[in-house]
Amino acid sequence: MKQVGEKKTMTDEFILEVQDLKKYFKAGRPGWFSRGENFIHAVDDVSLKLKRGEVVALVGESGCGKSTLSLTLMGLEEATEGTILFEGNDITHLNDRERKSLRQRIQMIFQDPYESLNPTQTIEEIVSEPLVVHGLAPSLDERRERVRRALEDAGLKPAESYMQRFPHQLSGGQRQRVVIAGALVLEPHLLLADEPVSMLDVSIRAEIINLLADLRQSRGISVIFITHDLGTVGYFADRVAVMYLGRIVEIGKMIEVLESPQHPYSQALLSVIPVPNPRLRKKRVILQGETPNPIDLPTGCRFHPRCPVAIERCKSIDPQLIELSETHRAACILLAK
């Protein structure tokens, strides 16, 4: 992405600006016997901007870095390089106190509602925990009132009948609503949703997605929605970013990417998502092999060893995102004119 004329004055429009973000992990423990150090390039040079009230879907296979990206944005992992601006402030490196106060404005929803609730706490304890941690609503009545509101906003009505229950007494969908209530109670501006429906039965996925869509309408929350299944968020997300091996390879409006994906990886990824209509059996582009490990990255374009249309130059040139339209970009040298 060319970084021309990006000015700080734009920050009012954007809630989040990510610039050249990198997150590397050391691979293995350097012991007595292993020589040198290797790095896992989990997130490698990612830039992304999110408007207020916008929903962006991050798509990719496991190991593409989408979860690490969300943890880094959340400050649960420290960025190796790059900057993250949130509401105009640099939040890349913060001390504990600053980080804590930021947590009120960025919240996260996790993949597995069975795992993300402490089985020994009641629903009320779970949802009020953020308030207690931040010292908000010190009086019990006030706290209870905010918990009640959060639960009802998350669709658990009447809230009173849920507050004294334990997670194991709820269904998967209800638990995910509790997780959402626990995030809402702090009234965040940005919500990071890490595969929030992939563990749920198909029949109840829609209710969670619809809930998030409603919350975005009513509260103007921005959402980064991490998923491997584009179908689920099709109507909900405004834009989509496709990730491969730590990079964004294509980003654009949802409809643009779904209807005319430009990067060969996006094309393959979309072609293999099954469509529930036997009359629409389509040609699938099945990539062979598996995603290479993010320690020894391929030279040139990271996708070239599996790319069905790769040419000789792909082995040496690492492509940058190329602007295809005002909203649509993809990183492939074949697209350069």
Partner: protein, 643 residues
């Protein structure tokens, strides 16, 4: 292979503590242990009220009073100094319990703190602490305790201190690994995400989940401390001023009780030790069962025999749907689970025919009986499961009533299974090639070892795995490769029917596409009939010829794939399709089905889908619909179809 969906769970308790007590009180072992422990504590506390003599004095002693057998005066006789054994025995409980509880307290505190700190903070601190723990762990406990106590002045305080300070190593290890496990759970990440600090997380999230384990471990540590104390006292290292069971034995053994035939002086103190230690052991073991319940059954328990509750009826599918011959003919199959006298109907009256070369999709939400149904086809139900009616004809033979020997022949060479989660379905300590070999040797005994080797390589290459991976272990394979290996294994004995139980769940979309393509190619090449179990309606639409939709253990709808997707008649099928995302219509707002599938031990009286059905009317609530046959070999169980 998710059988837990059909396990009958006890009524949900309102709080963990109450729930704990409810299960605890049902565990006979734990209750007996607790009662025995309470008895010994009561005896120790009220020792002066119970004992007829002062154990310290032996007033009015003559030589005739030594080693007197039990009498009305001395219930358990007298010892080497003419003292009352019963009184000493009662008082001895005090030392055992005091040493046990105090030493264990020291150990648990040290071990608990070290374990939590090491597990939670990790890094270099953890390394240091755990290395230190490992060091102490290999140094034999008792000899070290003996040496230290022998070198210091033997007093109760020293004994407690030494046993306590050396007994924490196992606790530290257990607590550390539990802390690590808790720390990796998502709710800790969630707590960090809301901004909670380490102290808050340790107190509110780690400790409550480590505590149960710590309690079980504490009980073990107490019993070990008691055994150690008695051994020390027996070796003559006890506190000379306190009466303990070990010391009583030391005196009796060392001062001629053996030759005097004074069994009472030898047996009594030991009985005390066994009583207390056994009480703790039973309690600890019972507690462990309560806190960490194992599955009620394992796979080698004898299965229940099939019963036939109704006379056989004609196949519901009267006409052939396809030209090819029928391979598997399932008629009115019902499966129930019997647990502690309660019966859960997991599958009821399911019929279908599978033709050669056909791929049938089996779909439905979790808990709808899909897994139970396919396990029943091969009689692989868990011990509590039972075919309660119906037949599974395979080559004219009824598998439902086959003997164990007949079953062993049909399994794998007739019907094989591609299990979901190949990581768990493959034995981790045997090579993949070896596990394939075993099936071939079992079912094709005529093959020579060389032929078998060649066949293994062929099979692996068939699924796209190179021969050099033959002697690798499952953990050396990637997720996609394991699933391919599972498929190779399933094909190894030339089966005619392959059951694929969610073979692509938990795999990435691209790997899923690879596996699906492979299955499809193999089916065409080998003429296999496949039952494809999945909850992914997209995969079914792309792969299958026919679809059986299950709900609450019954057939909701069964038809060819085009009918199911373009003209479904059962409201459940219709609702499922509305809930399923469709990339070809990205703007479509998805609609979820309100509510949840019924619990199999509390099925509704009428149609099982009625409580969630948008079209339900009165009749649906009281009368279960028949399986109506529609034109085009289309079956739907809905009252609306009748009219």
């Amino acid at each position: 292979m998710a059988f837990q969906t059909v396990e009958i769970k006890p009524a949900v308790p309102s709080s963990p503590l109450l729930g704990f007590w409810r299960i605890f009180s049902k565990n006979r072992m734990a209750v007996v242990g607790l009662v025995m422990l309470v008895v010994s504590i009561v005896v120790a506390v009220f020792a002066p009220l119970i004992t007829p003599y002062d154990p310290q004095t032996s007033a009015g002693l003559t030589s005739g009073d030594i080693y007197n057998p039990p009498s009305a005066e001395h219930w358990l006789g007298t010892d080497d100094a003419g003292k009352d054994v019963f009184s000493s025995f009662i008082y001895g409980s005090r030392v055992s319990l005091i040493v046990g509880f105090f030493a264990a307290f020291i150990s648990i505190v040290i071990g608990g703190v070290i374990g939590i700190v090491a597990g939670y903070y990790g890094g270099r601190l953890e390394n240091l602490l755990m290395r230190f723990t490992d060091l102490l762990l290999v140094i034999p406990d008792l000899p070290l305790i003996v040496v230290i106590v022998a070198l210091t002045k033997p007093s109760l305080f020293n004994i407690i201190f030494v046993i306590g300070i050396l007994g924490w190593t196992t606790t530290a290890r257990i607590v550390r690994s539990q802390t690590l496990a808790v720390k990796s759970r998502k709710f800790v990440l969630r707590a960090r995400a809301i901004g909670a600090g380490n102290r808050h997380i340790i107190i509110h999230h780690v400790l409550p989940l480590v505590l149960p384990l710590l309690v079980v471990n504490a009980i073990l540590v107490i019993s070990l401390a008691i055994l150690n104390e008695s051994t020390l006292s027996f070796l003559g290292l006890g506190d000379p001023t306190a009466i303990s069971w070990g010391q009583m034995l030391n005196f009796a053994f060392g001062r001629g009780a053996m030759s005097a035939g004074a069994w009472w002086a030898l047996a009594t103190p030991g009985f005390g030790i066994v009583w207390v230690v056994l009480a703790l052991t039973l309690l600890g073991h019972g507690l462990e069962q309560v806190l960490n319940p194992r599955l009620e059954s394992h796979h080698l328990m004898p299965g229940r025999l099939t019963v036939q509750s109704e006379a056989e009826v004609e196949s519901t599918e009267k006409a052939r749907r396809r030209e090819s011959p029928v391979l598997l003919d399932v008629r009115n199959l019902s499966v129930q689970f019997v647990n502690n006298g309660t019966v859960a109907q997991a599958v009821q009256d399911v019929s279908f025919q599978l033709h050669e070369g056909e791929m049938m999709g089996l779909v439905g939400e979790s808990g709808c009986g899909k897994t139970t149904l396919i396990m029943a086809l091969n009689r692989l139900l868990p011990a509590s499961g039972q075919i309660s009616n119906g037949h599974v004809y395979f080559h004219g033979k009824d598998i439902a009533s086959a003997s164990e020997e007949e079953l062993a022949d049909v399994r794998w060479s007739g019907i094989s299974i591609v299990f979901q989660g190949a990581m768990n379905a493959l034995n981790p300590v045997r090579t993949v090639g070896d596990q394939i070999r075993e099936a071939i040797v079992k079912h094709i005994p005529t093959m020579t070892p060389d032929q078998v080797d060649k066949r293994i390589v062929e099979l692996l290459e068939l699924v796209g795995i190179t021969a050099d991976h033959k002697d690798h272990f499952p953990h050396q394979y990637s997720g996609g490769m394991r699933q391919r290996a599972m498929i190779a294994m399933a094909l190894s004995c030339n089966p005619q029917v392959v059951i694929a139980d969610e073979p692509t769940t938990a795999l990435d979309v691209m790997i899923q596409a690879q596996i699906l393509e492979l299955l499809d190619a193999l089916r065409k090449r080998l003429g296999l009939a496949i039952i494809f179990v999945t909850h992914d309606l997209g995969v079914v639409a792309e792969m299958c010829d026919s679809v059986l939709v299950m709900y609450g253990g019954v057939t909701a709808e069964h038809a060819d794939v085009d009918t199911i997707y373009n003209a479904p008649r059962h409201p459940y099928t219709q609702e499922l399709l509305k809930a399923f995302p469709d990339l070809s219509q990205p703007e479509k707002r998805l609609v979820s089905i309100p509510g949840y599938p019924p619990k199999l031990d509390a099925l509704p009286a009428g149609c099982r889908f009625a409580p969630r059905c948008p079209l339900a009317f009165e009749r649906c609530l009281v009368e279960m619909p028949k399986q109506y046959e529609l034109p085009g070999h289309h079956i739907a169980s809905c009252h609306l179809v009748e009219s």
